[in-house]
């Protein structure tokens, strides 16, 4: 008998990899411990990291915040009831991953937990006060030309759409700098055309367009930070400043006084993307916009419709009917083009685009690497206010979209994923039927058998069960 170990592509389960959007937790996890250590010197980062932690982990941190000595691990574990021990382990793991706490022995030899010194100090500063003020908070005399929230929203939207328009190759290319283009190229959202060297959008770029604005900004900034290091900007400093912005108040002006040269450069970049508003380069004050404030609320999956700012945020324009018709009240070609990614456009009027979601159109989008979830998210995010109001006939559904449409789009996706991949080990070329049957029955009893064929005397065992089965085989072949 021979066993050939064939790993059936567990690495790349998804045929066309979708765009990864890490949240802060994952981003920080991928960075080195020293980098985290420098980050925890900023109270803002500590605050942001704290909010990203799982519930139980937050509870642990807040209880340990005012404790100076290490606390035995057993004591920490006893804070959570037995039934939820798994979640407790997960929380503890999250804290260790981000080096928020470290293991520290306590007198008596038991292992204990101790919050990282700088994290503890700076979280206390953020919560209770003390320490140095944030760099941008020096006081200002009242501004004669203060801007209101509506103006800032409009400004931010216009700037951000500039970037998106550039991506879809609309004629409008002014107002985007070489830096922004470099970031788009670096992120793989756009690529240089082989012929004339002009930037064209990639498959990832299309997925990027379907993300919510907050996620777009965050993803974009992540890549910005990657490239920032090459331009002698400290990523830690930039990240800290970003979170300062995200914890500031909308519609209030902040001073640029006391900011380092690097940060002023960074500020100009943010201004270009619409994260801050500045009247003039040398104005000495700036206004953070809603784009900057949203950075802190990027969560991977449980992101809701962001209706908290529905009043001021760009209004939705898409109506979806139960007969799969989609009406988009829009005048910009960008939005029409986006809709065209997954819907078949039927009519085009000056102020409205009508499309139909068909199996073909959706499958085409799916082939392009766009997921059903992304399509649904996009439709939800831009749902017309009328959709939000409409009640779904007493059915309390998660989505504002008609349930039939949501289900069908998901079904169209799942009909493409008819394979499930399991990693396994093939056993074949058995010398006798009896050997095969013995081994197969053993594997089946252990519940590790994935597939078998008696005629071919071949069986597949899961990777986890392989060692066990092999041991059994050795015992078995020796004894017989």
């Amino acid at each position: 008998m021979s066993e050939s170990s064939k790993s059936k592509g567990s690495v790349n389960l998804n045929p066309s990899p979708t765009l990864q959007c890490k949240d802060l937790h994952e981003y920080l996890k991928s960075r080195s411990a020293q980098f985290l250590e420098t980050l925890y010197n900023y109270p803002t980062i500590c605050l942001a990291v704290y909010r990203e932690l799982p519930e139980l982990a937050r509870h642990f941190v807040i209880r340990l915040l005012f404790v100076e000595q290490p606390v035995p691990q057993a004591v920490v574990a006893s804070w959570v009831s037995q039934a939820h021990a798994k979640e407790q382990l997960k929380a503890a793991e999250a804290l260790s991953e981000l080096s928020v706490w470290q293991e520290a022995p306590i007198p008596g030899g038991l292992p204990g937990w101790l919050l990282a010194h700088s994290f503890k100090r700076n979280l206390k500063v953020a919560l209770l006060g003390g320490g140095r003020p944030w760099s941008m908070s020096s006081s200002l005399e009242p501004d004669g030309k203060a801007r209101d929230v509506a103006f800032l929203d409009a400004y931010a939207l216009e700037r951000w759409e500039c970037v998106l328009h550039y991506m879809v190759g609309s004629a409008q290319t002014e107002g985007i700098s070489a830096d922004a283009v470099r970031i788009l190229l670096h992120a793989g959202l756009m690529t240089r055309d082989a012929d004339d060297g002009s930037a064209v959008i990639t498959r990832a770029g299309f997925q990027f367009l379907l993300l919510s604005t907050a996620k777009q900004v965050w993803l974009f900034l992540q890549h910005y930070l990657h490239t920032a290091e090459k331009r002698s900007l400290s990523a830690a400093e930039c990240l800290a400043f970003l979170y300062q912005l995200s914890f500031s108040t909308l519609g209030k002006d902040y001073s640029t006084e006391g900011m380092s040269n690097n940060m002023l450069v960074f500020l100009q970049h943010l201004r270009e993307f619409g994260l801050v508003y500045q009247r003039k380069r040398k104005a000495g004050r700036f206004f953070p916009t809603r784009l900057a404030l949203n950075i802190a609320c990027v969560r991977s999956d449980n992101e809701t419709l962001e209706p908290a700012d529905a009043g001021a945020a760009p209004r939705g324009y898409i109506l979806v009917e139960t007969n799969y018709r989609v009406y988009a009240y829009t005048q910009t070609s960008l939005q029409a083009a986006l809709l065209g990614l997954f819907a078949e456009l039927v009519y085009r009027f000056p102020n409205v685009v009508v499309g139909v979601l068909t199996r073909e159109s959706v499958r085409q989008a799916l082939r392009g690497g766009i997921t059903a979830a992304q399509i649904i998210r996009y439709l939800e995010q831009h749902a017309h206010p009328q959709m939000l109001k409409a009640d779904s006939g007493g059915i309390r559904s998660e989505s504002v979209l008609p349930p039939t449409v949501v289900d069908q789009v998901k079904l169209w996706e799942s009909e493409r994923n008819r394979f499930t991949y399991t990693e396994g080990v093939v056993y074949n070329q058995f010398l006798s039927q009896a050997d095969f049957v013995a081994l197969r029955d053993y594997a089946r009893a252990q519940k590790v058998l994935t597939w078998q064929s008696e005629r071919a005397r071949t069986m597949v065992v899961t990777r986890a069960g392989h060692d066990d089965v092999r041991r059994y085989w050795k015992r078995y072949s020796k004894s017989s």
């Binding site: 804070w79 959570v80 009831s81 109001k389």
Partner: protein
């Protein structure tokens, strides 16, 4: 009671702080109030720190009136950062302190401090919660709870008001937590039990913040996962409607279900007075059929 243990998008916490000057710990050392207040402010800020969308209200409860300490009605204060504290937290701290000073200054000087108007403050909290709920944008879910921090003793004088508030809270799915600084409060403990909140009598005031953060900071959905104090037996004795004292055995009116400690029966006393005890609170004239009511007496009472 909050049955569903699914985490919500945001949570609203209303803290009711008892600032009545005739609490025992304040009489002994007025400075302790500052410490307690600092603990409450730090606790409130920790609540805001949990999630970006969390909301907070603080109500100060005095003996002459209750007032919102945060958020302040009208335009919020214009604060600038002075140290490394998060701007919002500075705003909370400044607003609470400033408005509390105003509240204490506004107390009538000549009157002797009476008991705190806790039931009224609770009603205000419920009103605030229902307002915020109504303004909540569609698609968001919010859990709400009330925390009472008090060192006053438990009087049954506001019994009916308390019970009304407790059952309203239960119906609105609002948790009521009570943190007692001084004495055991059986009436408020009933409220916690009815609404599914937690009751804790703090053993010492020094560690107040730590207790608050430990017991009262976790949300309802999280509490089931943690080992928290509480439970124990709840004293469910009702207070009588005549002397407002808890009693184990009493008389219950068959019509209005009011409880009385008086040795004579309710009917008798009704006959004497021509109205029921609850007439005081509900102002309904109790009509008795039969030959017992004598007309002249009834007239007297009506005048």
């Amino acid at each position: 009671m909050a049955d569903d243990n699914t985490p919500t998008d945001c949570s609203l916490l209303v803290v009711v702080v008892d600032t009545n000057p005739n609490q025992r710990y304040i009489i002994e050392d007025p400075k302790v109030l500052t410490n307690c207040l600092d603990a409450v402010i730090a606790f409130s800020n920790s609540h805001l720190m949990q999630k970006a969308k969390n909301q907070l209200a603080v109500i100060g409860c005095h003996f002459h009136k209750s007032e919102y300490l945060y958020p302040s009605p009208g335009k919020p204060l214009d604060v600038r950062q002075i140290d490394g504290q998060y701007e919002l937290f500075t705003l909370v701290e400044k607003t609470i302190k400033m408005r509390l000073v105003n509240l204490i200054k506004s107390q009538p000087q000549e009157d002797k401090p009476g008991e705190s108007l806790l039931a009224g403050a609770l009603a205000m909290a419920l009103c605030y919660i229902s307002r915020v709920r109504r303004q909540l944008s569609p698609g968001l879910t919010m859990s709400s709870r009330i925390l009472i921090v008090t060192g006053s003793s438990d009087t049954a004088a506001q019994y009916i008001n308390y019970m009304n508030v407790f059952f309203t809270a239960q119906k609105q799915q609002v948790l009521i937590d009570v943190c007692s600084l001084d004495k055991h409060l059986s009436l408020l403990q009933q409220g916690c039990d009815i609404t599914g909140g937690l009751y804790l009598k703090v053993p010492s005031l020094e560690g107040l913040l730590q207790y608050l953060l430990w017991v009262f900071l976790p949300e309802a959905s999280e509490r089931s996962k943690l080992v928290l104090p509480g439970g124990g037996r709840v004293d469910y004795r009702a207070a009588c409607f005549c002397h407002r004292e808890p009693l184990s055995i009493g008389y219950v009116c068959s019509l209005c279900l009011s409880v009385a400690v008086v040795t004579r029966s309710h009917e008798e006393s009704t006959r004497d007075h021509g109205y029921c005890f609850v007439a005081e609170t509900s102002s309904t004239v109790f009509k008795i059929g039969g030959p017992l009511a004598t007309k002249p007496k009834k007239k007297k009472m009506k005048i």
